[in-house]
Subunit: 219 residues, 8 copies
Amino acid sequence: MTGGLDFATVDVERERRQGLPEVVYGPGKTAEQIAGIVRVLLETATGPVLVTRIEADVAAVVRERVPEGEYHDAARILLWRPAEPGTFSLGVVTAGTSDGPVAAEAAVTARSIGLRVSEFVDVGVAGVHRLLNRAEEIVACDAVIVVAGMEGALASVVGGLVAAPVIAVPTSTGYGAALDGITALLAMVSSCAAGVTVVNIDAGFSAAMAAFRLSRARS
Amino acid sequence: MTGGLDFATVDVERERRQGLPEVVYGPGKTAEQIAGIVRVLLETATGPVLVTRIEADVAAVVRERVPEGEYHDAARILLWRPAEPGTFSLGVVTAGTSDGPVAAEAAVTARSIGLRVSEFVDVGVAGVHRLLNRAEEIVACDAVIVVAGMEGALASVVGGLVAAPVIAVPTSTGYGAALDGITALLAMVSSCAAGVTVVNIDAGFSAAMAAFRLSRARS
Amino acid sequence: MTGGLDFATVDVERERRQGLPEVVYGPGKTAEQIAGIVRVLLETATGPVLVTRIEADVAAVVRERVPEGEYHDAARILLWRPAEPGTFSLGVVTAGTSDGPVAAEAAVTARSIGLRVSEFVDVGVAGVHRLLNRAEEIVACDAVIVVAGMEGALASVVGGLVAAPVIAVPTSTGYGAALDGITALLAMVSSCAAGVTVVNIDAGFSAAMAAFRLSRARS
Amino acid sequence: MTGGLDFATVDVERERRQGLPEVVYGPGKTAEQIAGIVRVLLETATGPVLVTRIEADVAAVVRERVPEGEYHDAARILLWRPAEPGTFSLGVVTAGTSDGPVAAEAAVTARSIGLRVSEFVDVGVAGVHRLLNRAEEIVACDAVIVVAGMEGALASVVGGLVAAPVIAVPTSTGYGAALDGITALLAMVSSCAAGVTVVNIDAGFSAAMAAFRLSRARS
Amino acid sequence: MTGGLDFATVDVERERRQGLPEVVYGPGKTAEQIAGIVRVLLETATGPVLVTRIEADVAAVVRERVPEGEYHDAARILLWRPAEPGTFSLGVVTAGTSDGPVAAEAAVTARSIGLRVSEFVDVGVAGVHRLLNRAEEIVACDAVIVVAGMEGALASVVGGLVAAPVIAVPTSTGYGAALDGITALLAMVSSCAAGVTVVNIDAGFSAAMAAFRLSRARS
Amino acid sequence: MTGGLDFATVDVERERRQGLPEVVYGPGKTAEQIAGIVRVLLETATGPVLVTRIEADVAAVVRERVPEGEYHDAARILLWRPAEPGTFSLGVVTAGTSDGPVAAEAAVTARSIGLRVSEFVDVGVAGVHRLLNRAEEIVACDAVIVVAGMEGALASVVGGLVAAPVIAVPTSTGYGAALDGITALLAMVSSCAAGVTVVNIDAGFSAAMAAFRLSRARS
Amino acid sequence: MTGGLDFATVDVERERRQGLPEVVYGPGKTAEQIAGIVRVLLETATGPVLVTRIEADVAAVVRERVPEGEYHDAARILLWRPAEPGTFSLGVVTAGTSDGPVAAEAAVTARSIGLRVSEFVDVGVAGVHRLLNRAEEIVACDAVIVVAGMEGALASVVGGLVAAPVIAVPTSTGYGAALDGITALLAMVSSCAAGVTVVNIDAGFSAAMAAFRLSRARS
Amino acid sequence: MTGGLDFATVDVERERRQGLPEVVYGPGKTAEQIAGIVRVLLETATGPVLVTRIEADVAAVVRERVPEGEYHDAARILLWRPAEPGTFSLGVVTAGTSDGPVAAEAAVTARSIGLRVSEFVDVGVAGVHRLLNRAEEIVACDAVIVVAGMEGALASVVGGLVAAPVIAVPTSTGYGAALDGITALLAMVSSCAAGVTVVNIDAGFSAAMAAFRLSRARS
């Protein structure tokens, strides 16, 4: 049983296997398709249902068809049935204000699946004392997501400061040699700080999901 | 105090900050330099001391100068004072026999810093039933490292099967369009399985260090 | 004799050589040019005439000038004189709903040139059981087209399951490190499953044409 | 049952699923590992057993341990139990003499798994009449493998001449902008000849395996 | 003396050194700037004055300010004082109808600077007989420009057929692995046909200027 | 104290450390965010306050909220409290008129932070005498910024002419193989002229800031 | 008739079509294969016979089998029956001493096929007066080959100085961002000097062949 | 007069124009050629003469022919007539011990041309306190060279700490995604710290030459 749609095969066992229902990736899907998949998920699963990378106008159409959806503008996330906050504390550290939307995607996703999120904004390495001023708070988190574009150096500095798991999210902030985030991706993957892990460019959602896996590992 | 060397500034606070002494990256250093740094680490820290990516002949010279080092050939790791095994169970899943040395680097590192390691070798997706036959054991691990070259598809399949954190290690196994591991790296970062994280090409060591961060997050 | 156009040299021998008239590639051509070429093809050949990658508004203009054309929206194909269904069974397996338009291009092309098409939608490897549930049907096809973006892992898994020819179509679905389909292309070309072949990014049409070559090889 | 090796999980169901036993990829494996895997394959399967990309010196060691292996020098293939020739005729068309080793890998593999192979050497497009002189023979093949480096243009010309399936193998022949075969790969994937499919750079073996899939589709 | 503009330093010696006045590259310049430069060129030089890559609306503004300009739509060229036709015969050979605008840029430029141009359209290698049917005419040209996108194979085939200089122009026609013309560029530079030279992607203008240099070498 | 914003952590120590307040990078920030940061900077620092890469419409909104801002259209810079001109003379040398906006960003930034700027426009190497005619003036500058797109050759020629520091700015002027400035960047970094340094593509601002560092080194 | 070899199809019509026999590309061929092809060429053609990119030791073996071959060490060319010098004057302009071997390949090839060659060594743009001092001589040549690595700027400067055809040869001289010649290739293709054409990296031979085509265009 | 060599055109005006004689780039030159050029430089100039990137065995041959040369092993520099130390203080800051040879090239070059050099070794950002401990000394330098491989983050952190000019040297230290220094290069060019400039990968020499230009700007 996969929901009876002819354009999708909903993974109805996902929640049992991994603790969360399948999440809907918005791009390339019509509002109708999204609404159809969301309905199947709301019926076959019990946890939070999310649609990511969905623009406001598409979200509005979906919300008309599936009531009670909550839309987060900066994060471009549409969600139903957010989880209750748990005890896992996640730090989201952002290099610059321009990286805000990606950090928002991470933070909204994480909160909606039950993590506690603290945000540390605009603490990039061009003024490293801004980061060091907050270091104690960051060190206290159970896991840290670092969101940075351009050269992505923040991931290495945070990776060297904290003992907790660090998930680096390269962003497409920057221009020219920043190569739409490829440079930050390569730089973070090449980080001199051992044990830093990396997700896709602008993938705040993926970072939050990685943190969710960690939160379960701890419990 | 950084050990009195003129070619290195040993990070003697690393163990206090992150739970492990600095690890020595072998390439580009002479045996003399390595021996000097290892001595400082053995004196200023209490935990395991590792040198990575060190060839057998260089390791032999270092071992003459710093006794009691243990050399792991396939993993190219030289180490002193390995930790006692803890309770965190780490699965190391390998796509093919040719990925063995990278998996060995991950496993030797992980064991030497106190993780319990189970290895699942040669279970690549060209015969996906080999993987499914072992799925129950893999699902039971606290975290999973996936080591795969060529197209790196194994990371996505494992990422979809298990709920635990998945750390993907692309390898340089393959030829032509495999681009010395770049293809596997890009593929793993682009994985359709949510929450899979990635480290550098052939970076078995980094994956083990990421797992160490996880193991501490759990405790 | 090539049709008397001054902007095109219609390959009027194509049908004799390869069993199908030349297919018109839409981009960069005006509606007038397309209509002109289609008219020549309808006159000089006897089989199906297709225009690919043609937008709805251009297609409407062409259809005014050349009657009886049939436009397929999702596939962006305009066609005349579709062939009767033959006996060659082609499976079109799609990783995600977002890959739908490329799969539609493959399926519409294939049907219009006489192949029998079965579609298997949204069976990507993040939930590999969705694929395994359909495996028996897929194995029964005479050939299989696999349509997948992001990391393209589905091609390897299908390639390992079936004995029939597998034609992989990387798609531009995804973002960041997916590099508009380059990553899926490189990954599919590097597949660990032996004998998987690959066509261009988003080239559902090419895959169907490759299947047509196969269908003739069998007869 | 996977053969009782601790460094490999032999896919003993491969022959049943796909008509041929697993093929051993030589690089990154020791002679001991190769010999061990070959022994398991000879015992658990009935068809031809091949090791690819194996150097002469390694092959010699393996042959000492597993008797009756046959080594093909140019193709770098070591094989046991070659199949009887079948009825499927495969053309292997080569652009230049320097592409010979890749063509040899394709031809040796194809013959050892039961295909009938005709070779057309050094018929690259810089003197296109060399190809046209042989066109009739090439058109008569059931499938055609095109092996070409540098700009790989031969695949497009052959793709336009024949109706049969065309499998293009880019080679690393050339220098500078040929980018070790990447240019030929990209060019072949972008071919203006519809329905040409492509395998990895220098992957004569993969092309032969793709032809094997075709040969079964026909029967 | 460079014309008294504050935004440009017109190379008023260009015509004396190279036989043609400087040509104005349109992108990034305002209509006012273009008109100013053209006026200086019309005054300080005696030969044809061209503006390339200028859109119709900008050209209209310039023509209001500088009378007697002639605009070529497909070629996006605006020109004054075209030269009389000379005796040098230039063939412009095009792979497909979609490559037409680039071929137009080459042909319009060439005619405006005094070359005789013959056009051979849509003779790409997917139907190589279209090209061979015209071979005698092409062989008779003093120089040949080959315009082709996708895999650019036409340059190699023409390069092998004719003895005259061949200037290859890669175009951005195609998609996916065609990489906006990069693939055709790399392929043409790697051509197996000796002595083929290459200019930038879509650079019909540059090819015509190279032919102009040739035409002077002959005289 | 960082200004009390929740979306930014203003580096209020920047002016003390480096002689200039933090500069605001416009992209990815709303007009409200920009106005908020500018207000904090005007209050906590004493020097010039700049916003870069800000479009005219956004700048208009910001200027309504923070009076006395001065907007430079070509340079896309919004600024308050420009510095008095100092004694450091900076040459800004531009290859072509199309590189003008990047040169404007460099010149406006430099003037607003107290440097004296001389501009040398459209002196690219295709007519090298244009440059040589101005060489004496350029040699007399305390530092030289070279702004060039396409192949970026101007940086090497200027680098060989002057003894002063040369800061090269690759621009995205050009098409095809110019790769949006990547080619000029790589070329300038590979310059045969010793001691030429490079900043990011189109980064007129960064070049001016590098010159500011130089101007302080001199004083 | 193609010479009766089983590993090569000699293009015996090449000399008639293009004025020169086929040239043998050395890499990937055994000395035996080279000797065999050379013998066929000496018998079936009347003009010069060349083998390019052949190392001294291989050349020695070939010379034993085919007498009277002349080996040019720096150029790595082995040749028989060089042509008499004609009247076409070719300038070979080199940026640095390290580009010498590529320039030698161009010069030796050109002389052996009947062109008159003048060499202008080490006149790179870091000291542009070295070039200007020789400008008059260079301007007098019928065609100019420019050989340059690193950023390849010399091609643009020469392209702006001379009216004759300019063939640019990027070399792999340089390191890091020079990318083994890719940077020079991209830069030369993007040259601001109109009508400069480009051949492959280190392809002195191709440049000479392009000049040969020119020399025939003139006659 | 350029020294009477037939393989080189020594730029004998370089010292007058730029304050230093031409520096000899070793790769691709024979010992004989190097010795010849050095002799001309020693005769025609008065300042220091350097050969860079010269291996010990080649240097030994050169020193036999040109007495009094001093060879620096780690830096691979051979030099004559080093300058007296001046007053300009240059900091050379190195991320890791493995970056030592590049830092040595910078330091040896800088000292030999009259700069005062302080070295700060192994202060990479994985343990940022190592850097902060030395910050006061680094801030006091007239200019700073930052040498770092892998992700190159050190350049951004230093760029944010100091007011002086910062010249970043990416190194090829690292593996996989570090791409032989390309990643560090792109990251440094994309640095969020304003006014950081960059030279080629491993180009310690270029960085020192850039510092020399600065030192003259100050005087």
